[in-house]
Symmetry: C2
Subunit: 242 residues, 2 copies
């Protein structure tokens, strides 16, 4: 169990990640309101930002780090619905409704997260309606992603889903790259990789092994080496339309 990381020093005006958030369209006056209302905190990996079933009081804005959005089933197994990166916003549902969180959010890599209470968000949307549209845009994107996940979950094999995941993670975490070869540092444990594609850890292990046996990727701890990108892509092609 991680202990708390403290310290509150953050400024919306100078925040670099703000430009990638919904707040990017706010003027200085709005920004002052936001900056005064927000509460910033540094979090260690493993820390919970909020939990499934809790009331949600406002929204969380990721300045740095990585967050896993998780949901548990009745057996206690969890599946990772999505990852949230710097510039992403969590819990904007609370702006509209009084509902409880349907998911939990957990720090996967340590970083700074700001909290803005619902009232302030509502006020800002009232002052700058375009802000609401920004949230709408985010919601539709996430809806697209979720529906994609529904489809791939029922359609593709675990192996294909995992390859798909690797390709997604590659975009953000690829550390090197040349003529189709690349390496990447996984931000997730094996368990969480499994939870991302809706599989058991055991199945994850076997899938990794099968990819190694086929010479498609080499795994060592959290580092992955892929010699040929084509080989990865072929996996999906073959899995999907033949």
């Amino acid at each position: 169990m991680p202990r708390k990381a403290a310290a509150d020093q953050s400024n919306c005006f100078t925040c670099q990640t703000r430009k990638r958030t919904e707040w990017c369209i706010l003027d200085d006056e709005d920004l002052t309101i936001l900056d005064r209302a927000k509460k910033s905190r540094e979090h260690l990996p493993g820390e919970l930002i909020f939990n499934e079933g809790e009331a949600c009081a406002g929204i969380y804005c990721i300045e740095s780090g990585l967050i896993g959005v998780r949901r548990f089933d009745a057996h206690g197994n969890s599946i990772l619905l999505r990852l949230a990166y710097p510039g992403d916003t969590l819990g904007y549902r609370s702006v509209l409704t009084e509902e409880k969180h349907r998911v939990g959010a957990e720090m996967l890599q340590g970083g700074r997260v700001c909290f803005v209470d619902r009232g302030t968000v509502r006020a800002l949307i009232g002052r700058t309606p375009a802000l609401g549209l920004r949230f709408l845009r985010r919601a539709t994107r996430e809806l697209d992603a979720a529906e994609e996940k529904v489809l791939s979950g029922t359609t593709m094999s675990i192996r294909a889903r995992f390859v798909h995941l690797l390709l997604v993670l590659k975009e953000r975490f690829a550390t090197s790259m040349e003529d189709g070869a690349f390496a990447l540092e996984l931000p997730l444990s094996r368990q969480d990789l499994a939870a991302m594609i809706g599989a058991r850890p055991e199945s994850m292990s076997r899938t990794i092994k099968s990819l190694e046996d086929d010479g498609i990727a080499r795994f060592s701890g959290r580092t992955v080496h892929v010699p040929r990108l084509d080989a990865l892509l072929d996996e999906i092609e073959l899995g999907e339309d033949q």
Copy 2:
């Protein structure tokens, strides 16, 4: 293939289902704009409203009937992502982006659907910002539902998912009800029932048979009789947490 059903006579001012749509908050002036811009059409079952991959030019508003929102995988199999009822809005993503439809929409039960071009919707949102928030609310609801579907898809058995579906359909289509017993008329073919839970038609057949064998429900064509609601609920309990 169904032939076209024609006739355009519909009025936003007198439209009863409007109260259940995003347009419920518009004033008379806005409503005039909407009424002039909208194009209304009667559709027969089986008619396509729009297709996956098409550009989306505006939003569709269901006055009556039932629409299936569908997505195809590379094999040509389709899964039904959701059902849309009178008062629901489709394609509001187009208000924000120029993206193509990621899903197809097909009339499952005949009815009247209105089309409103993107420009008009944008204009209305500009005039009445609260309208944007209405769409945001819809988007988050659908996001919740989609994530629920991801979870149930990876967690529950086909049988449990089907029972779940029956319970959902019961809310809208139950024709009679007494002391835990009820009957309902399914709005879907077996194929589409299968597509709703992400299964093959063959599996659907077998699942229905197993429910009959266990005395939990009786199926005759599209009519379902459930003698004891408890029995259905037990299915989910047992499947989930034991």
